[in-house]
Amino acid sequence: MSIHNDELYQQVILEHNKKPRNFMKLEPCSHEAEGYNPLCGDHLTVYLQVSAEGVIGDVSFLGDGCAISKASASMMTAGLKGKTVDEAKVLFDEFRRLVTKELDPEKDIHHLGKLTVFSGIWKYPSRVKCAILAWHTMKGAIDHAKVVSTE
């Protein structure tokens, strides 16, 4: 038995889990929403500061959850800073398709960059919602939903 060179728990994911980026409440912020995964108990809040021109000036999150949900949230916040709301929605859609294997990062056009580390997660259907929780919550915040659930 050996420790796997794991396609899911890669170093970058473990590292973001240990030291999540933008892990704080954003004050003031223009948008926020709470995401909840009742099955796992993953629970987080995403905060966004969006300018009048629709640019995400700052984004952060706080919450508890598994390594996958925490790393995904951390990497999402790092990836969204400076993007427009429309670009964020495109990324949301690409990420959603990535984790459900609808998007092949090798073949299809995308803007995911480092976020492709989550590409192996489709093999673990029960964990897909951990990876996508922060993204649904971010989308909910932009669409002015208060509470988002991935169930």
Partner: protein, 407 residues
């Protein structure tokens, strides 16, 4: 005579299943559902392949044969629980439906506003929500007996909460998330002294130790076939005949009636009054085979072997760095719930699944227990008599690897 686990394992081909990356399976999720011995699958298959017919109303040979097979399980369940009469064994979809049946038929009839239903903090959601639904309908009050930090019911609190207002106590025999074995015999006596009925949720209990409903003098007892090495979708409600007689039917339909006109319907005798519609016949027959199988193993040897697994597991897990056991009752089944420092249960579950080890992670349908311990989830390894110390070693090594990955 020693328990021959090697021989027993041969009856469970599912133990040879391969997991992710073709790893041999270590199945430690028996509190969720158990594997089924060949004897169970061959009995259901025999019904489907050679003996299919509907039960109770046919005059033809196959129907009479299917009825006999189906009713044979009732006699097996009666003997298994040492019930007085076959009228006291009602077949249901499982423990959940059995509790819902009691809550709906007994609760709606006999509970009045202000009457108290006494539960414990360690109940499964299936022994909480049915009573909440009845609370809406009747105005009864739900009281909850707290547990201590070992995961044991605090008996002093239990005694204090019992009163003349208590109409029923509905509690678990063996906790699915903590492994605690409750002192149910004493608890039932105390309930009766207070004038309350007692429903025992034996979903985990019936595979742990022999249960004698007459010795316990319990009023209702429920269990599921699939946690007793039988098929899913079938279970038993035991109820004292004198109480079942006073309860209205659960559902209307065929089989639960003697005669129907548009003016008046006469309900069938017990227990068929509570068995409307064509049941899961093959499943019930399979549950009979499961009961035969468990009885054939011999309780004393099986209990001694499971105690060995329990002690071995506790020793092995206690040595794991940063592991906190949730549920350390003095009387315990081999169910190990635990948390690892700074590692979420779901990450543990996914990572050890890679080594072929199947455990359950989450709240195990006992959110009040999670709240008591201030945690969102635990990892839970639940063992059956076909598990081995070698499997515990594989499991503990896999946990060690998880810790290495995270630190």
């Amino acid at each position: 005579m020693l328990f021959d686990v090697k021989r027993v394992r041969d009856d469970f081909p599912n133990l040879q299943a391969r997991g992710r990356d073709e790893k041999p399976i270590v199945y430690f999720d028996n509190a969720a559902t158990t594997f089924k011995p060949c004897q169970v699958s061959s009995s259901t298959q025999d019904h489907y392949c050679h003996r299919t017919a509907n039960i109770h109303r046919g005059v033809h040979y196959l129907s009479e044969q299917a009825t006999a097979d189906y009713e044979a399980t009732r006699e097996k369940a009666r003997r298994f629980l040492n019930a007085r009469s076959l009228s006291e064994i009602v077949f249901t979809k499982g423990a959940t439906e059995s509790i819902n049946l009691v809550a709906a038929c007994w609760g709606r009839t006999f509970l009045k506003s202000g009457d108290e239903v006494l539960l414990s903090e360690m109940e499964h959601h299936s022994n909480i929500v049915p009573w909440q639904l009845i609370r809406e309908a009747t105005g009864c009050v739900i009281k909850v007996v707290p547990i201590n930090d070992q995961g044991e019911i605090i008996l002093e609190e239990y005694k204090g909460l019992l009163s003349s207002r208590t109409k029923i106590v509905s509690m678990v025999h063996v906790s699915n998330s903590l492994g605690t074995v409750n002192p149910v015999s004493d608890m039932i006596k105390l309930a009766h002294t207070a004038g309350a009925l007692f429903l025992l949720d034996a979903a985990q209990g019936v595979s742990h130790e022999p249960v004698d409903v007459q010795a316990l003098d319990v009023d209702f007892l429920v269990f599921s076939g699939h946690k007793l090495f039988g098929p899913t979708g079938v279970g038993v409600l035991y109820g004292k005949e004198s109480i079942l007689e006073t309860m209205p039917p659960y559902q209307g339909g065929g089989d639960m009636i003697l005669s129907v006109t548009f003016d008046k319907t006469i309900f069938n005798r017990l227990p068929l009054k509570f068995e409307a519609g064509t049941p899961n016949i093959a499943g019930i027959i399979g549950m009979g085979a499961a009961i035969d199988y468990v009885r054939g193993l011999g309780w004393a040897d099986m209990i001694a072997y499971k105690k060995e697994l329990l002690d071995y597991g506790i020793r092995a897990l206690t040595a794991v760095e940063g592991l906190r056991m949730i549920g350390t009752a003095r009387n315990k089944a081999p169910i190990f719930s635990f948390v690892l420092e700074n590692i979420h249960a779901h990450d543990i579950g996914t990572l050890i699944d890679r080594e072929g080890v199947a455990i359950r992670t989450g709240h195990h349908c006992t959110q009040p227990v999670m709240k008591h311990f201030g945690i969102p989830a635990t990892s839970r390894a639940s063992l059956a008599f076909y598990n081995t110390k070698e499997e515990i070693d594989i499991f503990v090594r896999a946990l060690g690897n998880v810790i290495k990955i995270f630190h």
